[in-house]
């Protein structure tokens, strides 16, 4: 097992990794940028190292700064969290070349799954139905030709990273041409890589993903599915498990197909396979995320597993030590992403001082957040302030408990999306579990809020 881990991330996930390390008796070092000097993770750190200025290109996205910090602090492993360099095979390889372990899939596995088009082909061969799509787009002419072949509407997606950044759905060649430039610059800003590809857009789809855990020796389990259909412009807003749209038979078929395919394709460590589910219950594989995900607590609430600890254990070379029959999923959980953004005004990101922060409490309520009263949200990074996760024996109980928890949550001094969550919890389509990924975008979120208030 590792003796000291560098936490190469910020915000709530830095805290989450810190907690896993503490539980496992491993020392941790927080790598932070100048803008995060006052962060909760730094305050709680055993050790902290300033790696660079606020600009992420020179701090959280700088492989050399992070690795140098790990070496200077005497770490033997690096946990990349999510976003930033979490799926960067070059970084993973640099970490290994310096004798340290990257907590995630080994570099060659990351490289095998790095191309989204390549991964679709690979997992398609191992039995997963895949969504029609293009390879990497060379230029606009190539994009137009590929979109014609696939058939509109199509979704433009950045090849690096996820989180909905740099994504646009377009219905015509004209829209495609206009959107390409925007997507390229968004992808460049978010992932330092502007390569794009196309995917067939399914109308009225749901977004369902499967959590898998696979060790180095080819033992793997799935930990059920998560439904992430509540989105706004391809950004997840609320996640839940189990999916309210699937029967037990469908879940079983999806999860079994997913774990079978990734084990056969030689995947290793924690991963999430994302699927689109169409109106008729058919599922199509879209991509795999080779890292811990924002919404992992939903699965932890159902399974009782500590997924970050599992990730660390597997990276250290330990065998899984349990089988599919040992993974038991209980009840229902919802996760609400609390973001510093103005829902009523085009989700404009906000920064500034959180004058008062009070986390909700009570049984089966979990708040993963790096906020504290007086904390200043820096303007340089993601707008996520934390995640509220609530469990119930069934969906109705989880929703009822969520309403109370959302009401207890106080974040003053900065505009957040809490009103959107309140509106969702009162919305018939959501309550009946019949929503698709365009629930919010169809009417626009400002209209959605007004509708809910009326």
């Amino acid at each position: 097992m590792f003796s000291k881990i560098l936490i190469a991330n910020r915000g709530e996930i830095a805290l989450r990794i810190q907690r896993a390390c503490r539980k496992m008796g491993i020392a941790s070092v927080v790598a932070y940028s100048e803008a995060d000097r006052e962060s909760r993770a730094v305050q709680l750190a055993d050790e902290a190292v300033c790696i660079g200025p606020a600009e992420s290109r020179r701090s959280y996205l700088s492989a050399s700064a992070l690795l140098s910090a790990a070496l200077v602090a005497g770490c033997d492993a690096v946990h990349p969290g999510y976003g930033f360099l979490s799926e960067d095979d070059t970084f993973a390889e640099m970490v290994r070349a310096h004798g340290l372990t990257f907590i995630g899939p080994p570099p060659e596995v990351l490289e095998r799954f790095a191309s989204k088009a390549g991964t679709r082909t690979l997992l398609g061969k191992h039995g997963l139905p895949t969504i029609p799509g293009s390879g990497m787009l060379r230029d606009d002419a190539h994009a137009l030709a590929e979109a014609d072949r696939i058939g509109y509407p199509v979704l433009i997606k950045p090849s690096a990273g996820g989180g909905g950044k740099g994504m646009r759905m377009v219905r015509s060649p004209r829209e495609l041409q206009q959107a390409m430039t925007i997507c390229r610059s968004e992808a460049m800003a978010a992932f330092h890589d502007d390569s794009l590809y196309l995917e067939k857009w399914l109308e009225d789809n749901r977004h369902v993903e499967v959590q898998v855990v696979v060790d180095r020796y080819g033992n793997g389990v799935h930990v059920g599915e998560r439904d992430c259909s509540v989105q706004r412009r391809h950004q997840k807003v609320l996640e839940e498990a189990r999916s309210p749209a699937m029967t037990d038979g469908q879940r079983e078929a999806l999860c079994e197909a997913a774990i079978h395919a990734v084990v056969a394709a030689g995947y290793e460590n924690l991963g999430t396979l994302e699927f689109l589910l169409d109106r008729d219950g058919n599922f199509f594989f879209i991509e795999i995320n080779c890292r811990i995900q924002v919404e992992h607590p939903v699965t932890e609430m159902l399974s009782g597993m500590d997924l970050v600890a599992e990730q660390i254990r597997i990276a250290a070379g330990e065998p899984l030590g349990y089988g599919q029959q040992d993974v038991v999923l209980n009840g229902h959980a919802l996760e609400f992403r609390i973001n510093a953004e103005d829902t009523a005004h085009d989700f404009r990101p906000q920064a500034g001082i959180v004058e008062r922060y009070v986390a909700p409490g009570g049984p089966f309520v979990r708040m993963d957040s790096h906020l504290y009263s007086g904390y200043e949200v820096p303007p340089y990074y993601d707008s996520m302030l934390g995640k509220l996760i609530v469990w119930g024996r069934d969906r109705n109980e989880a929703i009822a408990r969520s309403r109370d928890a959302i009401d207890e949550l106080v974040v003053d001094g900065i505009v957040t999306n809490i009103p959107l969550h309140r509106a969702l919890l009162d919305h018939d389509t959501f309550l009946h579990g019949e929503f698709t990924t365009n629930l919010l975008d169809r009417v626009g979120s400002a209209a959605f809020l007004r509708e809910a208030a009326a």
Partner: protein
């Protein structure tokens, strides 16, 4: 070495020479024109990566709405203390996280011009220069040779000429 190994070594040398002659100059030019921090190409199992020195580059632009006007971080800020800016002048802050080594010949009392190197920080074997922020005389080093430093950590103090 066997003949085969010798031939492989010779081939590898030839490839390195070709990459250095043909690929590297083009990459340098591309990197200089772009605002990228790093550029990498892979070819036939070879990989060439160029990295811009970290200290080079403008401060980040704030990409989002902000409720209060914030002063941009001074490029040479000390690790802690937010004292008045005048007091910061003359503090030589580390440009990166790594190991510090002073420049041979630079010692207390040495006269320095703004931009003169007084040592470097070793970042994974790449040297990043530590330069004087002002014209003046070196008052002293805050860290020892070979000591680990973090970004922004005070490395030395330079006193302005009266």
């Amino acid at each position: 070495m066997t003949d085969e190994q010798l031939e492989q070594t010779a081939q590898a040398r030839a490839t390195i020479a070709r990459l250095a002659d043909e690929v590297v100059p083009i990459l340098i030019e591309r990197l200089a024109k772009s605002d990228l921090g790093e550029l990498e190409v892979r070819e036939n199992g070879w990989r060439v990566r160029l990295r811009r020195p970290l200290a080079d580059g403008a401060a980040a632009a704030a990409p989002v709405a902000h409720s209060s006007q914030r002063q941009p971080h001074p490029v040479m800020a000390p690790a802690s203390s937010g004292g008045p800016r005048e007091a910061l002048r003359g503090v030589v802050a580390s440009p990166a996280v790594g190991y510090f080594a002073p420049r041979i010949g630079v010692e207390v009392g040495s006269k320095l011009r703004s931009g003169d190197p007084l040592g470097y920080v070793d970042v994974l074997g790449v040297r990043q220069e530590v330069v004087s922020p002002i014209d003046g005389a070196l008052r002293g080093f805050e860290v020892e040779s070979g000591q680990a430093v973090e970004y922004g950590q005070p490395i030395a103090r330079v006193e302005a000429e009266a």
